[in-house]
């Protein structure tokens, strides 16, 4: 029997990309885990804290802890929410429950790679060329892949997982680590720079031959897809959970 | 209170705890190769040149081949070469400005970066190193030190009042990123290995 897992589905996935939530749930169940999605969940508190409004995150953080502290592990298909819970859950008093939640929250790729140590996804096949986009939270905060600025030995947890999928090919963009410009509220307060970064990002993948951009973070992809569509860059988007769960397109 | 005293007082008041921030021992890191080959390769990378010296040719002859234009004003600060003007005739920067080529001996060189060290001991008039159009530098291969860490252990840094590490000629890339060798200081820097 697997662990008792609490599934957190960030608001934008709930509202705009339900398929990502479904794929995450089904994938974890397929891997023998006992997964529950507490239906009263709202948000991890990140948007307020990142804007500097720490006290405004308190209600969201408290609710999160109330809903999730009873699980062995909390898994979410989002690097930035994971980073928030793990590193910035500071608006509320640090009780045992809070500490438990902070220590046992995982982004999906980390959880598959480090905790469950899955390497093969025999049910999955994706005969396409994909460009991998690591969100800055996944890359530089959660460290799910090596960072080009440090010159460290190359590794990539999402790439390792995807390599267990039949038929998949990888495109190599020229600036693989460059931020795509989503940045939460940055995407509206600095609309011009944000959209320009997004466009440059999708073009980089497109020119590298990617048919799909795949990422563990839907927020980056929501932004990138918006830029691609507006500028008619012919590229599609898919969350890593969907590929690993056997999506065919 | 003077500005000095009030700055110092504020710093003392605001300082993070010194005990939390110990000073690391000085370190000598990096590649220890101090060979002339490494020096030359680094110098070339910085845009400098090595002087081609045919067997048996004098330094003056080699320099004449390097700078073939007739009538150049060449000033030598070393006994190995004669040049065309006397040092005594160039006592000020204004008088020294027209010099085309200056020949000088470096105190030492750095293999890591192809740098040569000059100070008032070699230059007499510091400005000459920057006003001259071209510079020829004699360097004793025995005076090549491996890298920046070993270089800073040299005594010259404690004695020279002006000490410049020149690494190739002056350069700029301030106009649309185009690298231009020969910006405002020397247009070329040529090193000649010459044991002292």
């Amino acid at each position: 029997m697997g662990m008792k897992i609490g599934l957190f589905v960030p608001c934008y996935i709930d509202a705009f990309y339900p398929g990502v939530g479904i794929a995450t749930l089904e994938l974890l169940e397929r891997l023998g885990q006992d997964v529950t999605y507490p239906t009263e969940q709202t948000c991890c508190g990140q948007p307020m804290t990142n804007a500097g409004c720490v006290s405004d995150s308190a209600a969201a953080e408290a609710l999160f802890v109330k809903l999730f502290s009873g699980f062995d592990a909390i898994v979410m298909p989002s690097g930035s929410c994971t980073h928030h819970v793990r590193s910035h859950f500071d608006a509320i008093e640090q009780t045992d429950a809070v500490r438990h939640v902070r220590a046992n929250t995982y982004e999906l790729v980390e959880f598959l790679h480090d905790v469950l140590k899955v390497r093969d996804f025999p049910w999955a096949e994706f005969p396409h060329t994909v460009g991998l986009h690591n969100s800055c939270s996944s890359l530089r905060a959660l460290r799910t892949a090596s960072m080009s600025e440090l010159g460290e030995p190359a590794f990539s947890k999402p790439m390792t997982l995807l390599s267990g999928v039949k038929g998949i090919r990888f495109a190599t963009p020229a600036r693989p680590d460059e931020c795509c410009g989503f940045g939460g509220t940055f995407s509206v307060t600095e609309e011009a720079v944000s959209a320009r970064m997004g466009l440059d990002k999708v073009r980089d993948h497109f020119h590298a031959g990617a048919e799909y951009i795949v990422s563990a973070d839907s927020s980056c992809m929501m932004h990138q897809q918006g830029c691609a569509e507006r500028n008619r860059v012919d590229i599609r988007f898919i969350h890593i959970a969907e590929i690993l769960n056997g999506a065919r397109q | 209170m003077s500005a000095r005293d009030s700055i110092l007082a504020t710093l003392r008041r605001n300082s993070p705890p010194p005990a939390d921030h110990p000073l690391p021992e000085p370190a000598v890191l990096g590649e220890a190769d101090a060979s002339p080959e490494r020096f030359s390769a680094s110098l070339l990378q910085m845009g400098g040149t090595m002087l081609d010296r045919q067997q048996g040719a004098t330094l003056d002859q080699a320099i004449a081949l390097r700078f073939p234009k007739p009538g150049l004003m060449i000033r030598s600060l070393v006994p190995e070469a004669t040049g065309t003007v006397r040092i005594a005739d160039l006592p000020t920067p204004q008088a020294a400005e027209p010099v085309d080529v200056t020949i000088v001996r470096a105190a030492f060189g750095i293999a890591e970066t192809g740098s040569i060290f000059l100070s008032e001991a070699q230059l007499h008039l510091n400005a000459i190193a920057h006003l001259t159009q071209h510079m020829v530098v004699l360097l004793d291969p025995a005076q090549i030190t491996a890298n920046m860490h070993t270089a800073y252990l040299r005594p010259e840094f404690h004695t020279a009042r002006y000490g410049v590490l020149m690494s190739g000629p002056s350069a700029t890339a301030d106009i649309q990123g185009v690298l231009i060798r020969g910006a405002q200081g020397v247009r070329s820097l040529t090193v000649c290995f010459a044991p002292e």
Binding site: D14 | L29, N126, I175
Partner: protein, 474 residues
């Protein structure tokens, strides 16, 4: 204090609209980042160097008063005049007095960010002193009456055609010149006579060494050494944070500086000044201008470790696409965004938000300043100090409340009821509107994950597990 905050976002719109400039700016700075990476890969000890540089700087800052006194003692005994400036006005007055005492009417200057901070040029101009910047990029900016847009390459936002236009106006060269060599030569020829006949010379300083009383200037063009050695008076303006304890420490910093900045192993000139040449004068002006106060800011004092290499700017995707001038400050890019608010909190309150906090800056910083974490911290400080625009603050407040109430939240997501009715709708929509300017919105979906889950896992998830009861202080 009632100054308007810098509108970085609006300036960025204009910058982005000019495609040739934008494309060059982004490509050029990215190329510098790539060259930096190449140098890093050549040195297996790179991370060790960074750690040491950081530790030496933190030590020097934690003992700054002592090291400044040590430097002063040694510099004085070598014949250097040491001056102390509490702020920019102090600095300018000191420089003005040195020049006046010698009847100096012309000053040649190499690049110094501290003199930009102090706004020296207008001060001296008003006193009849002609100041000529001798660094090519800085000279271009002076002639164009703009701040430097980058701390290492001041005119990096300009194309050759811009320089040709500026030089044509000031030097009478061909306005259609398109060869950078030709333009650089024009600068050399124009600068030489000015340098030769200047009454005094001025430089900045990248480092100074307590142990020996030396200061160090790292440059490429040769103009700084000309400015320092040709006139009989050399004034060096240096921020008090630039001290290192020992001569032997310099190796670490010199190895990192130009590699991080331009991707070259060393600057063409690394010049060490330990005393005046015979018959000349040498002055060092140690400038505080807010630094001693910054040392007392627990979350921000490590920004004083900065060696002004510009690597954080080169790697910053926002800086590359908005240009240094859009920050409206002497210091731009990531390092600017964390130090500018210490000069004027209101005016620069927008800059910590001109970032996605992606963290690339922190990774390239040779002295390991946690830049993106300081951006994050600054946002909190600015909110606490009421420097966030009202609408945004209200939205965050409302959103925070909503997120604590599952029923209202669910209603809002489902759109069945407007839970946001307490918030003026126009404010919210105006605020979110920019999304659609250059981007499509996500396509609507038939069903949220939440309702899919309730249909497909009907028995699960209603109650939380019983094991832990949580107290919260929300």
């Amino acid at each position: 204090m009632k100054e308007k905050p810098v509108n970085h976002a609006a300036a960025a719109v204009a910058f982005i609209a000019d495609k040739p400039h934008l494309d060059f700016h982004d490509a050029r700075l990215w190329d510098m980042r790539q060259k930096r990476d190449a140098q890093m890969h050549l040195l297996p000890e790179w991370q060790d160097l960074r750690s040491r540089a950081s530790a030496i700087k933190e030590h020097a800052l934690a003992n700054l008063a002592d090291y400044l006194e040590e430097f002063e003692r040694n510099a004085k005994s070598n014949g250097i005049h040491v001056h102390w400036a509490a702020d920019g006005a102090d600095h300018n007055r000191i420089v003005g007095e040195i020049l006046e005492a010698r009847g100096a009417k012309t000053l040649i200057k190499s690049k110094s960010m501290v003199t930009e901070e102090c706004d020296l040029r207008p001060y001296l101009a008003a006193r009849g002193v002609t100041v000529t910047e001798t660094d090519l990029g800085e000279r271009i900016q002076q002639l164009d009456d703009q701040l430097p847009s980058h701390i290492v390459v001041p005119s990096v936002h300009k194309l050759t055609s811009d320089v040709a236009r500026i030089f044509a106006r000031s030097y009478g060269t061909d306005p259609n010149a398109d060869d950078p060599h030709q333009l650089a030569e024009a600068q050399r020829l124009a600068a030489r006579p000015v340098i030769l006949h200047a009454d005094a010379g001025m430089t900045g300083g990248n480092f100074f060494v307590a142990e020996t009383g030396t200061f160090v200037v790292c440059t490429n063009e040769g103009n700084a050494d000309l400015s320092a050695t040709v006139p009989g008076v050399h004034i060096a303006t240096i921020g008090i944070e630039r001290v290192v304890p020992r001569m032997a420490d310099l190796g670490v910093f010199i190895r990192l500086l130009s590699r991080s900045a331009l991707g070259s192993p060393i600057t063409q000139y690394t010049s060490h000044f330990r005393g005046p040449q015979d018959g000349s004068e040498m002055h060092v002006v140690l400038v505080d201008n807010g630094r001693s106060a910054r040392l007392g800011m627990a979350d921000f004092w490590t920004s004083l470790k900065c060696i002004r290499c510009g690597a954080c700017m080169n790697t910053c995707p926002v800086y590359r696409r908005s240009g240094g001038l859009s920050y409206g400050a002497v210091y731009s890019g990531p390092i600017g965004a964390i130090i500018d608010p210490t000069f004027n909190e209101r005016k620069y309150s927008t800059l910590p938000y001109a970032s996605t906090m992606n963290g690339s800056c922190t990774n390239v910083c040779p002295v390991k300043i946690n830049i993106h974490e300081q951006l994050y911290k600054w946002r909190q400080v600015l909110v606490e100090h009421h420097q966030m625009p009202f609408v945004k603050r209200e939205i965050m407040h409302m959103a925070g409340k909503l997120m604590g109430q599952p029923k209202l939240y669910r209603a809002a997501i489902n759109g069945t009821e407007t839970a946001l009715s307490t918030l003026p709708r126009f404010a919210l929509y105006n605020w979110l509107n920019p999304w659609g300017k250059n981007r499509e919105l996500p396509a609507p979906v038939k069903e949220t994950f939440h309702s899919w889950y309730r249909r497909n896992r009907p028995t699960a998830g209603r109650a939380t597990p019983e094991t832990v009861k949580t107290e919260t202080k929300a």
